[in-house]
């Protein structure tokens, strides 16, 4: 046998953090996603991009056990987890930040964050993580005992991400974090996502905003009506005339 070689860079690791094969899912008889395959290497930030109704949220929900997949498989760190219950997946390190923030409005900021750590038992560790999340998100610290419903949209998005971090995930599934935020806040949220990725967290990001999404991702998948139409590194995609034409408002070459 050849001596073990440690390749440089996270993407070269043998086993992907998340591997999805030919996943199909939908609601009732309506197909949402029609055979999507995708891989995310450990430490990688992958963006899944597409317009409204392309099936992005359905895809994330089928991965995280919120809805049942029709067919296909999901492998999490090489282990088959297709159709597993969402609470088991959170326990094994997959946290989903749902679309539209979904904080619990009648609970306080701190209670929301503590719920994020519901699957964990060691209360000492939870306290430490609570402190670190509150340090990361300054505005939340000041509003610690305030009801989450009284926060601004941006703060709610921060809380929603902070709550997911409380589960100590190895992978974060982010569903449309820029939705309904002002351009300045969108910038802040993406800066935060980049920070998390640079700290080594694996992230699968679903975005409608192709420019912002590719701007912070390592790799991207472009989705249209339930299937992947294009994939590649973020730079490749950003330079691709077709992408510029159909997603970034033109000024690319005619194809």
């Amino acid at each position: 046998m050849a001596p073990e070689q440690r390749p440089a860079g996270p993407q070269a690791t043998a086993e992907p953090a998340l591997e999805v094969r030919e996943l199909r899912a939908g609601y009732g008889r309506i197909t949402g996603i029609d055979g999507i395959s995708l891989t995310v290497a450990p430490g990688e930030l992958v963006a899944l991009l597409g317009a409204n109704g392309a099936g992005k949220s359905t895809f994330l929900r089928a991965i995280s056990g919120m809805i049942r997949a029709w067919s296909g498989s999901v492998l999490f760190h090489g282990k088959e987890v297709t159709g597993q219950r969402s609470d088991r997946l959170v326990r094994s390190g997959m946290a989903h930040v749902p679309e539209g923030r979904r904080v619990l409005p009648t609970l306080t900021v701190e209670e929301n964050l503590r719920l994020g750590a519901f699957t964990r038992r060691r209360s000492g560790d939870v306290d430490a993580d609570l402190a670190s999340v509150l340090t990361r998100f300054g505005p939340l610290r000041e509003r610690r005992n305030q009801k989450a419903g009284t926060l601004s949209g941006g703060e709610q998005q921060m809380l929603s991400i902070g709550r997911a971090l409380m589960a100590r995930p190895t992978i974060l599934l982010l569903d449309e974090p820029s939705l309904g935020l002002s351009p300045r806040l969108v910038g802040e949220v993406f800066a935060l996502i980049r920070d998390l990725a640079s700290e080594g967290l694996t992230i699968l990001l679903v975005e409608q905003n192709v420019k912002q999404g590719l701007g912070c991702a390592d790799r991207g998948y472009l989705l249209s009506t339930g299937s992947v139409v294009m994939t590649g590194s973020a730079q490749e995609l950003l330079a691709n005339p077709k992408v510029i034409d159909s997603y970034l408002g033109g000024r690319g070459q005619e194809v």
């Binding site: 219950r85 959170v90 989903h96 749902p98 679309e99 009648t106 609970l107 994020g116 699957t119 589960a167």
Partner: protein, 290 residues
């Protein structure tokens, strides 16, 4: 305490126990429409044990609670993984089935009922309420209490937090059924005769009204609801035939003025304009799901 006061106090206590029991499942946002079935299961279990086997009432009540909990866990396990509409239908049907089975079961006297129970005491009722209140007091401050509120407010968000929503709801439902079963046992030893018809839909509805009237936000809201609904018929006795009408009107007015119940903050947005507006705007945004 004279016999009349004692009877009123015991009846009030049983109503409070029923309300508190129901509150536990309502706290997870799951409304049962057949809780009278668990009351019946508790009542018949205890009555069989005390009358036919001469067990003490206290021991029989424990068995009543256990039996009702098992039934509750079973029904919850079937119904709570589905939408709350299915829960309503399944619990309602379950209560009807229990009633029909009791009606045709000769061992417990069929439709003519079961009797021979000796009375219960104010102390026993008070003790049960005490135990339940202590439980709820600690529940409200615990992780579990927080998870109930999360499930009630937003099930999807609760799932995203890693809460095993179905498991938690089934557990709450079983505990709720257990308390209702104990209340049924006490009630059987207060009325001294039990018939299946006592445990029909009107009884289920009454239990729901205790909690809806009091408000689901805090458990003591359920106590207030139970006290008001038990005392109203006594206070409004002079209204005679007009009682039902007055009672109905009172309810309508209350639901308009305080949709969150007598107890509870008005920030709770249910059945009011804010909720409707929210619904309308989410309709407009429908299909945005990418």
């Amino acid at each position: 305490m004279d016999a009349y006061t004692e009877a009123v106090v015991i009846r009030l206590g049983i109503a409070i126990l029923l309300a508190l029991g129901y509150w536990i499942t309502a706290a997870t946002g799951k409304f049962s429409f057949g809780h009278a079935a668990f009351m019946a299961i508790g009542a018949y279990t205890a009555a069989i044990l005390t009358v036919n086997f001469e067990w003490s009432l206290a021991t029989s009540m424990l068995i009543s609670g256990l039996t009702a909990a098992v039934a509750g866990a079973f029904i919850g396990w079937i119904a709570l993984r589905l939408s709350i509409l299915y829960l309503a239908i399944i619990t309602f049907a379950f209560a009807e089935i229990v009633k029909i089975l009791l009606d045709s079961w000769d061992y417990v006297g069929g439709a003519s009922g079961l009797f021979g129970m000796r009375g219960t005491t104010v102390e026993l009722v008070a003790m049960c309420i005490g135990v339940v209140i202590v439980y709820l007091f600690f529940l409200a401050r615990s992780r579990k209490g927080l998870s109930y509120e999360a499930i009630r407010e937003d099930e999807q968000a609760a799932r995203a937090c890693g809460l095993g929503v179905t498991g938690i709801s089934v557990e709450a439902f079983a505990v709720s059924a257990a308390i209702t079963g104990v209340a049924g046992a006490l009630s059987a030893h207060e009325t001294l005769i039990i018939t299946p018809s006592q445990f029909g839909a009107p009884q289920s509805l009454l239990i729901i009204l205790f909690v809806v009237l009091g408000g689901v936000q805090y458990f003591w809201g359920a106590i207030v609801g139970a006290v008001v609904l038990t005392m109203l018929p006594i206070w409004f006795d002079f209204l005679d035939n007009y009682y039902q009408i007055t009672y109905g009107l009172l309810f309508v007015v209350l639901m308009i003025l305080r949709p969150q119940g007598i107890i509870g903050r008005s920030t709770e947005r249910r059945f009011n304009l804010g909720a409707l507006k929210k619904l309308a705007s989410s309709r407009n945004g429908a299909g945005r799901d990418g």
